[in-house]
Amino acid sequence: MELVYSREREQQKTAEVDDRKLAIRARGGDAIAFETLVLRKTPAVVSVARRIIGDAEEARDVAQLVFLRVWDSLARYDEKYSFNTWLYRIATNLSIDFLRANRSRERAHGATLHLVRRREAALEDEATHALESTQVAELFERVSRDLSGKQKAAFVLREIEGLDSKEVAAILGCGESTVRNHLFNARKALQKKLRKEFPGIFDRWRRS
């Protein structure tokens, strides 16, 4: 009990330390610093993974993998760069990998098709009414299914998480012009899908 209490007290002490310093301490083997980072960054990591993968439960699984990867790779973390960018990069890459694997599984089994159709119908009914944030997330999951991993990640990081384009480029490991390209294509594909499958949403704001 004492051990748990001390650990929590240590975590409270490190709560004010910035991410970069914590990462440097974690790199030196400080488990408390690493755990503080896990607690601090879980919401952001789960949020990005959830947007890219489209499933909350699977996003939590990926988040665990992200932190394990962070622990393994801390020796390679260069403090000249933002810890957030580095973390997002790991989270985005693992989410894209997961998405790819999931898509191949779905293609192989043709599974969950009827469930998807039932959910589509429910969304269409709701589309003409005010959308709750969870419904917006579901709608995004539905219409973004055909985007490539990079397009989806670029859209999520830039438009939903609100990161600046330089940071998105660093996370995706490409140039800013490529990010703009991914965003343009993602937006076009999403608009097309929304018009085709959820015209109610489109019309609602057209009329407003």
Binding site: S47, V136, L139, R180, L194
Partner: protein, 185 residues
Amino acid sequence: MEALVSATCPVPAASIEAYRLDAVPEPERRALRAHLVACPACRDRAIAADPTMLFGLAPAPAPSSGDAEARQILENVRAALAVRSASRKVERAHGRQGWRAAAVVAAATLLALTSSTSRRPRAVTASASRAARGGFQDAATKVVRPGADESPSMPSSATIYEWNPGTASPDDPKIVWIVDRSLDL
């Protein structure tokens, strides 16, 4: 024609359009985004211009259990790291024992070859010799501690696999494989 500003908000339509086209530089973009999220009139105008803006401007869904979710993930990460650390220790121990076992086998093989060619007494039981006559045998046999002939590297308890391809001549070299069972995990 679209109004330049909404009735309830002074943000001009041109700013919303610039945001949509990703033409607003960074500090202003962040401020404008915060406004679009908070102001229903501007948000609706932005979404009317481009429905994909809905995804970026809708308030983010709250994490299902907030801090509890982070604590759960931390517990799982801790458990995974602990399991991995334990597995590595076992692997390392296994690796060391593997080398030790290989050294014992090499030493024992050399010893057996030397013993056989010099007609010194063999350090195996009769049942092992019987098994050996059939070629490569999985003959579980305890080593008889050979007293003065004992090599310091010989294990106290071992299984001997003996290979003797059909010859019974005592002059033929014997090849034996000794596995120290005390090294098994």
